[in-house]
């Protein structure tokens, strides 16, 4: 099977879905790029990170819709088009820019189906970049999908590898509900085996990326890669870590997570979002409410601290959960002590 990185897997998925369904359109800033430029080069960008490269050449600018910088209108336009028959895949370049267009997501797109009495379909996908670690500072490094999972009416998807990215994006585009598809900006070049043909991965179905019986680690997006590494390391010591990647946090595969926690009796929730009212908190509440009798130690959260993302790389390295912090948390839950796992530095 061919190796593909996440960027190429997403690009390929967009092409396959656009070939399959003429109502699929792509909308966003510089998704073509170079319009009005002096070189006359058509499609000078194909997205700021090249994710939409080649789309304009194949599908034309009627379906690959470059836009001015105007997120509120981009996302609102995608929502309105979805409501009226298109299947737009809109790009919100960085999830941080959600502030500019949040009304369209929160009060419009997320609510159409419900407040129109079930008569609306809103098949819109918002692709966006998340994640810290690249020194891009407080306004270009956030994760924020926590907030979106809190909003009824939106589905929230976080692929952790290229295979899942393709299958989940295919599902997202074919889904009749609004989907936020979060791409970690530090992972675009991460590669794995990805089939050439189309396939779907259902929402609300977690993947167990490392089977184990001593402790359950639930992680998302890039944190899955880190959790897997820690699991592999600890396997050498005979500690059997089970890593669960929910892949979608809304809907959430609570059955798989609870099944794992019931088996191991221990939960470490790893996430890059801020910790207050967070996905990590949701996991802990799930374990406390639904698997209380099985717990052998207090669940532990390994998250970003309750701070913005600092620009300084020397501070940012402590912001993002690290291999060391995940390992320490696992050891602490096994040893029964949780105090130091909460501390970041």
């Amino acid at each position: 099977m061919p190796q593909k990185n996440i960027r190429d897997a997403i690009n390929e998925t967009l092409k396959l879905e656009m070939r399959r369904d003429p109502r699929v359109v792509v909308i966003g800033e510089d998704v073509v790029g170079g319009l009005g430029g002096s070189s006359g080069v058509e499609e000078a960008a194909g997205g700021t990170f090249g994710v939409t490269a080649g789309l304009a050449a194949e599908f034309g600018r009627r379906r690959v819709i470059d836009t001015p910088i105007t997120e509120s209108a981009i996302i609102g336009m995608a929502g309105g088009a979805a409501l009226t028959g298109l299947r737009p895949v809109a790009e919100l370049m960085f999830i941080d820019f959600i502030g500019v267009c949040f009304d369209q997501i929160l009060n419009q797109i997320a609510k159409f189906r419900y407040m129109f009495g079930g008569k609306a379909r809103v098949p819109v996908v918002i692709r966006t970049m998340t994640g810290a670690g690249l020194g891009t500072g407080p306004q270009h490094s956030q994760s924020l999908y926590n907030m979106l999972a809190n909003v009824p009416g939106i589905k929230v998807v976080l692929p952790s590898n290229a295979y899942d990215a393709k299958g989940l994006l295919t599902t997202a585009i074919r889904d009749d509900d609004p989907v936020i598809f979060c791409e970690n900006k530090a992972m675009y070049l991460d590669a794995c085996e990805v089939p050439d043909e189309s396939y779907t991965i259902p929402f609300g179905q977690a993947a167990i990326t490392r089977p184990g019986s001593d402790v359950t680690v639930v992680a998302l997006s890039r944190m899955v890669t880190l959790a897997n590494q820690v699991a592999d390391k600890l396997a050498g010591e005979g500690i059997r870590v089970e890593v669960v990647d929910p892949r979608t946090i809304s809907p959430l595969d609570t059955a798989t997570i609870l099944g794992s926690v019931q088996k191991t009796g221990r939960l470490v929730a790893v996430d890059e979002c801020n910790p207050v009212c967070s996905f990590a908190s949701e996991l802990v509440s799930l374990a406390a409410c639904e698997a209380y009798d099985a717990l052998q130690a207090a669940p532990v959260k390994v998250t970003a601290p309750h701070t913005p993302v600092p620009a300084a790389p020397d501070l940012e390295q402590y912001y993002v959960p690290s291999l060391a912090r995940i390992e320490e948390a696992i050891r602490n839950t096994l040893g029964g002590s949780t105090a130091s796992a909460r501390k970041v530095v």
Binding site: G33, L35, S39, P68, F97, P310, A312, P313
Partner: protein, 322 residues
């Protein structure tokens, strides 16, 4: 209009400082010493300086992701800026902001801004403060051609007109928003006409000509200080380098900038007129060049050698009290 030679020397010094600073940053980014995204201001120096020569520390500016030049023009400390760009202790924002978020409230510099269209609403807030306090202060927002398309910018222009805020909308039309040309991305094609539509005076000037920007600003600032309300100035000056350092610029005709650098470099343009008409001496300008080179060399050395922020600082400054 007449120009005070001391003001002109100061203006030259600021423009040269920006140029020297940015060229040095370019080399440093290429050498891989600078963290994060860096957007350079070369070619646009006359806009920031032509505007800020009219402003005091008690006046305010809101800036953009391309903010180094605005900071220098507004009088921010060069070493403090470099320490911030290098994200070191003692940086203007203690390393928490970096190149795209530098601020110096003591200088009325309300922050570079990594959210396109983020600054104008903040700037009208500063204008409101000046209006309520009645201190004749003014506020100015630098706004890219790309940013001019954001709803936040329209809303700010409208609010400023409704409330006659002491506000200047300084559009920097540098031809591009990222990889998209202004001839395509600007619906209606004309920022100045749009601004005029809100009912404020709106002029378009050559942004490589310090004197043109300075003159337009003189009237806009007078209006603002006299309580007559907002104005818009669109200053046109191509950016010389990529959107960010590392941009391949395939959207751009090869040589587009070479030609511009020969024909409309704001510094020689300024020097030619200032020496011919207003008696500035070429030697004193060369002395300034030399002095600034040393200042910037030294400040870069200081910034590189400065200690990094310590881990516990991650947690500070989130709140005043909590």
């Amino acid at each position: 209009m007449s120009y005070d030679p001391i003001m002109l020397l100061d203006a030259y010094r600021r423009m040269r400082a920006i140029r020297e600073f940015e060229e040095r940053m370019r080399r440093e980014v290429q050498a891989g010493t600078v963290p994060g995204f860096v957007h350079l201001y070369c070619g646009e120096e006359a806009i920031a300086v032509g505007a800020c020569m009219h402003l005091q520390d008690t006046d305010y500016i809101g800036s953009t992701h391309r903010g180094h030049g605005h900071c220098i023009a507004k009088g921010c400390d060069i070493e403090g800026l470099l320490l911030e760009i290098y994200c070191k202790q003692g940086g203007l924002c203690n390393g928490k902001g970096g190149s795209m978020h530098m601020a110096d409230l003591n200088k009325g510099m309300l922050g570079a801004n990594a959210i396109v269209g983020g600054a104008p609403p903040i700037a009208i807030g500063a204008a409101l403060t000046a209006q309520v306090l009645g201190n004749r202060g003014v506020a100015l927002a630098f706004i890219g051609d790309g940013a001019s398309n954001q709803g936040t910018v329209f809303e700010s222009m409208h609010m400023a007109t409704v409330h006659k805020l002491p506000m200047i909308f300084m559009y920097e039309n540098n031809g591009y928003a990222e990889f998209s040309g202004a001839s395509w991305h600007l619906g209606g094609g004309d920022i100045t006409r749009r601004a005029g539509g809100f009912g404020m005076p709106a002029v378009k000037v050559d942004g490589t000509d310090f004197f043109a920007v300075y003159d337009a600003m003189a009237e806009a600032v007078r209006r603002a200080r006299d309580g007559e309300g907002p104005s818009s100035i669109e200053a046109v000056a191509m950016r010389w380098y990529g959107h960010f350092e590392g941009d391949m610029q395939t959207y751009r005709k090869k040589g587009e900038v070479d030609e511009l650098r020969k024909t409309s470099d704001p510094l020689p343009k300024f020097e030619e007129r200032a020496t011919r008409e207003f008696g500035l001496g070429v030697e004193e300008l060369r002395e300034i060049d030399e002095e600034l080179r040393e200042i910037i060399d030294e400040a870069v050395d200081v910034a590189k050698a400065a200690p990094k922020p310590l881990a516990p600082e991650l947690y500070t400054d989130v709140y005043g009290s909590y």
